[in-house]
Amino acid sequence: MTEVTNDSGYADELRDHQFDGIQEFDNRLPNWWLWTFYGACIFSLFYWLHFHVLGTGALPMENFENEKAAWAEIQAASAIDTTELLAMSKDPTTVEEGKAIFTGAGTCFTCHGMDGSGMLGGAPALGPNLTDNNWIHGGSAASIYTTISKGVAEKGMPPWGPVLGAERISKVAAFVLSIRGTNVEGGKEPQGEPYSGD
């Protein structure tokens, strides 16, 4: 070993080996570096004991099931009734809000047209006309709400309930009820059974 003083004034020990001209000091390891390492190891030990030996920590699936149960409780507290839906369909603010969801990116309009007429860009879209009096899955307020919420898989209507949530589904249903039977000009030909009621 040779003691040398380098440019920056440190007294370092130089090893007597050299490799293709490369020399090596043998400095001590920085303490903060060592403690970073020790800390991670100690943390790991306790983490493992907590979650995998003592079982005192909740694992992901347990957390999920608790979370799911909590949400189910909240959702059970809010149900919908027909009278309220019909009232909402008469309220211009609610209808406007419903329309905004209906025409929002990637939602209802892609299959039912911007105005619900079943026409998109001059061509028939995937879904039926919602402005006539004919309904494939029922034209009552409750049926419309259910169709939007639960979907009709075999027709390609997705269930929007879990996606939009009860409040927004009600607003969309209110908007659909507000255009029901308005027979927008140039709409898609009627499909399903005529409905009169509500």
Partner: protein, 785 residues
């Protein structure tokens, strides 16, 4: 030392021709890899740039980009550095010029093969292991040539000890060989198609054991070796600390291999494996930083040179980016951080900090140092190299910051819930729209980086033109190892190995007994072993690591120790999965809860694999309420039991597809057949703002039905429960099911001219099947250990 060193001197010439060829290959292939990346980035902003052309489509060229950057840019750069520095550090020409040539040219052939096959959709769909079986064989040939040549050179070296750079090269060569072979074990079905022998969770674990350690032992260890040679050379300073080299080298190779499961946090992988992945990632932080420290602290007393020397600028920034990435990696491995960042563009930012900052800058620094020396001249323009450094640095920062912002935005929007538990952003396209600006910023950052690379090519070209190729020469003292010294077995099974094995035993007792008393005994034993090891290390430091010094002069013993260190983690993590009985439960109906795919679905799945759908879509729902609301119940480990290879994915540029065929708890597909038909041929016709490429050719491309029974047979051989009758009636069943899909399409007023044997019909059948099992949910009871 006690070795008798012969005094015979000899003049040798190094093989620098191979080095020049690898440099050239890295620079040229690298440009192609970067440009493909740029195109892929642009395609995310402008779907039109997919040109409705199969071989230009994002999902096929993104794997080309990753493979080109890893295996062509970094691979060739690493080989250039290894060949150049090893010869000088070992004071010997490479053992065999023929093997050098075989390695060089077979590697370029692999890259050419990748550049042709990946755009054609010939892929295994395992990330960074996409190359199909025939190219895998060529990779093995190439790597074996490299390994034999390298270890042979160790044997004939004229230097007593192996320098730290060589340690890292040894670790690289051995570990990559093990990883690559195990992860690519596959049963060929046709000349261009194979099924991996692992399935589902087992395959996922093997893949990410490989994927993570490809980063470790292909992108990290060889580059650290290169740093240990070129940085002190360029700075003309001694390396900061020999003992830091020892500690961080062994800690790195031992710990890295365990960290793979951090790519699979919150998946259906058993919780114990996930926790191991996270904890070892945290413990890896300090060993990784050991490399950065030894690099940066070597510059003590030479910082003034960084101001004027572009080579050192690149090295300093490269090592700093390494430090940043190896801090970000453990951070992202913490489960709750992964919950936010996984599947988002944050991960894209993370890997680019490493690839562009660490790998790309270390490459540039090495090239600027090396090329003038290989051509006996001076660098053409220091100013241009400086400019490359600055534009590259700004480019990386812009890229990474854009992806941080974009990734965190995605993660937060995915999880935001209304007061009633519904999603605030139910529409995927809304989220895409939010990150569009970040996608553009990323493209600009990446573009700046490419510009820097082009400037480097010009600069190196002018440098080459101003000189002519010279091969290094040296006068060496012939080294003959003295007889005697400790036996190899004694070196390999010395105190460090024994203490490690005892420590692992104590860990196992603590971790796996399930018995609190045994666990406590395990902890106590572990603490005793750690304390004893600490005292032994302190003693070793006092006598200047004599033990290690001797091992450095014994390549075989050193290599065996590296093998032991690397294999430990792999065995503990992989073995339980490999021997695990993949028994799928029987449902109430008396059938398997997860049935093997029908022939049509299986062909559809192969289309899914070939088109690279996994590049943007995961099939793994995590146990979070927001994912439940968006996709349905958390994915169960059995659901992918028959998936050779698994399709869990790692990125959600589009939504998860695990339950696209059985939406939420309805048992019905989310979309009907017509929706899928329209979505595949023209995504914008059903989702106006989608950035997904169209796949119109699926409508006209036919499935090659000659291969179908053979595919079922191969699956049967791999343990998927197909009966011989099913294989016999495969084609009839295929036709029947395809006609059913067509009938539904007609019923939905869809096309009536779609061919029953088109790829699109098969793909639709596969998608409608996803999630349609009688077993739908993972439960808490099945989770933990």
């Amino acid at each position: 030392m006690t070795d008798t060193v012969a005094l015979e001197k000899r003049r040798i010439t190094y093989d620098d021709g191979t080095v020049r060829a690898f440099v050239f290959a890295s620079v040229a292939w690298g440009l192609i890899g970067l440009l493909v990346g740029l195109l892929a980035a642009l395609q995310l902003s402008f779907w039109q740039l997919n040109f409705d052309t199969p071989w230009l489509t994002f999902s096929r060229i993104r794997p080309l980009h990753t493979n080109a950057v890893i295996f062509a840019l970094v691979g060739n750069m690493m080989f250039a550095g290894v060949y150049h520095s090893s010869q000088r550090l070992l004071k010997s020409r490479m053992a065999s010029d023929l093997l050098s040539k075989i390695h060089l040219w077979s590697w370029q052939l692999v890259i050419l093969g990748a550049a042709i096959t990946l755009p054609l959709g010939i892929t295994q769909s395992k990330e960074y292991a996409e190359l199909e079986w025939f190219l895998d064989l060529l990779v093995v040939v190439s790597w074996v040539a490299f390994a034999v040549n390298f270890f042979w050179t160790l044997k004939i070296r004229n230097e007593r000890n192996l320098y730290v750079a060589i340690w890292f090269y040894i670790a690289t060569i051995l570990t990559i060989a093990v990883l690559y072979i195990v992860n690519n074990l596959a049963l060929p079905v046709t000349g261009t198609k194979s099924y991996g022998i692992f399935a589902g969770a087992q395959d996922a674990l093997t893949q990410w054991w490989y994927g993570h350690n490809a980063v470790a032992f292909f992108l990290t260890t060889p580059i650290l070796g290169i740093m240990y040679y070129y940085l002190p050379k360029a700075a003309d300073r001694p390396v900061y600390s020999y003992r830091l080299s020892i500690i961080h080298f062994w800690a790195l190779v031992f710990i890295y291999i365990w960290a793979g499961p951090h790519h699979l946090l919150y998946t259906a992988l058993p919780d114990w494996a996930q926790s191991l992945g996270m904890l070892f990632s945290l413990m890896l932080w300090a060993p990784s930083w050991g490399g950065m420290l030894n690099g940066l602290l070597t510059l003590r007393g030479a910082w003034h040179k960084v101001r004027t020397d572009p080579v050192l600028k690149f090295f300093v920034a490269g090592v700093t980016f390494y430090g940043m990435s190896t801090f970000e990696g453990p951070l992202l491995s913490i489960k709750s951080v992964s919950a936010l960042g996984h599947y988002t563009d944050w991960i894209i930012g993370h890997v680019h900090g490493g690839a562009l900052g660490w790998n790309g800058f270390m490459a540039a620094g090495m090239f600027y140092w090396l090329v003038p020396r290989l051509f006996g001249t001076k660098l053409h323009s220091t100013g241009a190299a400086d400019f490359h450094f600055w534009i590259g640095t700004f480019g990386i920062l812009m890229y990474v910051v854009a992806m941080w912002v974009g990734g965190v935005t995605q993660g937060l929007m995915w999880r935001e819930l209304n007061p009633d538990g519904s999603l605030v952003y139910p529409q995927w396209v809304e989220i895409i729209a939010q990150v569009k600006l970040m996608y553009m910023a990323r493209t600009i950052g990446g573009g700046m980086y490419v510009l820097g690379w082009v400037l480097m090519i010009w600069n190196l070209w002018k440098t080459v033109a101003s000189g002519k190729a010279v091969d290094g020469e040296a006068e060496v003292t012939v080294y003959k190892p003295a007889a005697g010294g400790p036996s190899t077995a004694r070196l390999v099974f010395g105190a460090p190995t024994i203490m490690t094995v005892l420590g692992l035993g104590a860990c196992y007792m603590m971790a796996d007994s399930g018995n609190v008393v045994l666990a406590i005994v395990g902890v106590v034993v572990l603490l005793v072993i750690v304390a004893a090891s600490g005292f032994m290390l302190a003693a070793a430091a006092k006598n200047r690591f004599q033990w290690h010094d001797v091992t450095e002069s014994r390549p075989l013993a050193f290599t065996l120790l590296v093998v032991l260190a690397v294999v430990a983690g792999g065995v503990v993590e992989l073995l339980p999965g490999i021997v695990m009985n993949r028994e799928v439960p029987v449902a109430a109906s008396g059938k398997l809860a997860v049935m093997p795919y029908t022939p049509l679905q299986l062909e559809g799945r192969d289309v899914y694999v070939s088109e690279g759908c996994y590049v943007c879509h995961s099939q793994m729902i995590r146990p979070f309420y927001e994912e439940y609301a968006r996709y349905g119940a958390p994915s169960d480990i059995h659901e992918s039991a028959w998936d050779h290879p698994f399709q869990w994915g790692s990125k959600r540029t589009g939504p998860d597809l695990a339950r696209i065929g059985s939406y939420l708890e309805t048992g019905q597909p989310k979309y009907n057949e017509l929706w899928h038909y329209k979505h595949m041929t023209d995504p914008r016709s059903v989702s106006a703002d989608s950035n997904m490429p169209g796949y119109p050719w699926l409508e006209t491309t036919k499935v090659d039905l000659d291969d179908t029974p053979g595919k079922l047979q191969a699956m049967q051989a791999l343990g998927v429960p197909y009966t011989d009758e099913q294989i016999g009636s495969a084609l009839d069943d295929y036709r029947k099911e395809a006609d059913g899909v067509l009938a539904k399409l007609r019923e939905q007023a869809g096309p009536d001219d779609l061919a029953w044997d088109s790829e699109l019909v098969a793909l639709i059948a596969y998608l409608q099947r996803l999630g349609n099992n009688e077993l739908v949910t993972r439960t808490a009871a099945a989770g933990g250990k």
